[in-house]
């Protein structure tokens, strides 16, 4: 335990990243308890109130209100839910697809490996953002559609990393021991190989979650992602774009929130990478 604490204390990236991330998760989970207002209720008498640090701001709306008079702090809290939901579910969907493909290709090799490599190459050649934009526009933008489209598009890195990780593990002795003991392929893959490639999986999952959150924000910013009145941070920036010359905080606040969230996830991911591969440091 003491060793664990010392290692964690030395791993500043993991420490700082998970601390910020935990704070954002808590704000998102308890959004309904801590939000001062309903994020959807418009108060037309109080439109575009500047945040509290502005001369015209007040503590009634700490981060001000948007051009429809909705409390910005409350929308920011609820927006965290959308970003986190996107990050977690896209990483889950693409993680399951990519891991299955990568592990099967790495374990069996041969024709299956060639087929998976071909699928990965094909998928990589298609620009994610463009295909996602087109798909969401054609199917119709909503939160589930965005999650599904990104989940079905972003499995490539999982497949690539899981493939080579599985190849390495397959050659190890305990796998051949399990094989000669007559364990089924499924059992070897899930019981022996998966626990050993798990560290790689976790690091990739953090990176993919961050990239999915950025993609959703970009799609929503272009108006082809999550639809109003949902308080997606990307959508909030998009809605504020017309007012950016007069009320820049409307863009700066959700933009900073997005950057902070991505920064925290990437930092935690870097930290986890160091945690799992201590010898690679320095």
């Amino acid at each position: 335990m003491a060793v664990f604490a010392t290692r964690l204390w030395r791993n500043k990236a993991l420490l700082a990243g998970s601390f910020i991330l935990l704070a954002i998760v808590l704000l998102a989970v308890f959004a309904s308890l801590i939000s001062p207002y309903d994020p959807y209720v418009q108060d037309l008498a109080n439109r575009s109130v500047p945040p509290v640090w502005d001369d015209k701001g007040s503590w009634l709306h700490p981060l001000g209100t948007d051009p429809l008079g909705r409390d910005y702090l409350s929308r920011l809290f609820y927006g965290a839910r959308i970003s986190l939901l996107i990050g977690i579910s896209v990483a889950l969907i693409s993680g399951v697809i990519g891991t299955a493909m990568g592990m099967l290709a790495g374990y069996f090799g041969g024709k299956l490996d060639m087929a998976v490599s071909f699928l990965v190459t094909t998928r990589l050649s298609m620009p994610v953002i463009l295909v996602a934009l087109a798909t969401v526009a054609l199917v119709g933008g909503s939160l589930p559609v965005v999650i599904l489209v990104l989940g079905l598009l972003k499995w490539d890195r999982f497949a690539v990393v899981m493939r080579s990780a599985t190849q390495q593990v397959r050659a190890l002795e305990y796998v051949s021991a399990a094989q000669s003991a007559g364990a089924s392929t499924w059992r070897i893959l899930v019981g022996e190989v998966l626990p050993n490639v798990l560290p790689h999986l976790i690091v990739i999952a953090t990176l993919e979650a961050a990239s999915a959150i950025l993609l959703e924000a970009s799609l929503s910013f272009l108006g082809l992602g999550v639809q109003p009145p949902l308080p997606s941070w990307g959508l909030m920036i998009s809605e504020a774009k017309a007012y950016m010359f007069f009320s820049f905080w409307l863009i700066a606040i959700p933009g900073t929130a997005l950057a902070l969230l991505i920064f925290a996830i990437n930092l935690a991911g870097d930290g986890l990478h160091q945690w799992f591969t201590p010898q690679e440091r320095g």
Partner: protein, 305 residues
Amino acid sequence: MFFYMLKRLGLALLVALTVSFLAYMLVFLSGDPALALAGEGARQADIDMVRKTYGLDRPVLVQYADWLWKLVQGNLGTSVYFKTEVGPLVFEKLNVTLLLGVYALAVALLVAVPLGVLAAIYKNSWIDRLCLGIAVLGQALPNFFFALLLIMLFSISLRVLPVSGSGTWQHFVMPAIALGYYAAPAFMRLIRAGMIEVLGADYIRTARAKGLPASTVVFKHALRNAIVPVVALAAVQLGYLLGGSVVIETIFALDGLGYLAYQSITYKDFPVMQIIVLMLSVIYVLLTLASDIANAWLDPRIRVA
């Protein structure tokens, strides 16, 4: 080498063919493309007419084969929205986007090379950590948010650059920065790792022992070798940058392929949409092909695999 190239070329062709099929089928995600083309509230007779005009009444595979056959002959179809031929339209915009991509790549390298070299020379010092910090921070900033920050700074506060449009080189400055900075961290990490490896090599020690100035050793001997893998990454990154141009060109209303892609998606201009998806994918395939062949040429060990 010859067989390696042949194999690689065959694979590239197969990928391009698969992508062409996917790009064509993309349109059918809307359910019935005829319905989407006719617009909302169209009468059944109009929908039937659209279906017939665009040949959508035939089996899907026949439509695809017909489209591909025309494509091979150089007929890229007609835009539904602009009412012009897709070929000239798309190739004209491609020039703008390629230019933007190359500028963005230059921005990325201009940031990444000095930072990467600095981080490698002062490995594990505060300078190294600062460079890494810049990289992590840069990767966290959404590019559209960064683009808006640039507009606030250069167009509103300093009033030195135009907000949007295309035509002069000034119009490319902000888009190139907004697109390129995002690729910088990947280059930086690669250059740092490469430089650390090279700086520990024997011939660098020899060069140092000969009494050559530190700058000559770093820039003439070390960087030249550390930059080799960067060339391969640059090809792949350029492909990513072209895809990312959709967001950046739309923000700055830069009249390139990305902006056209956005327009074709919002106007449901299917023929243009299909060609752009295919085109960007084929460019990516060609870039990776070129980088693979260059790598095999530089490093004979790869050819065997």
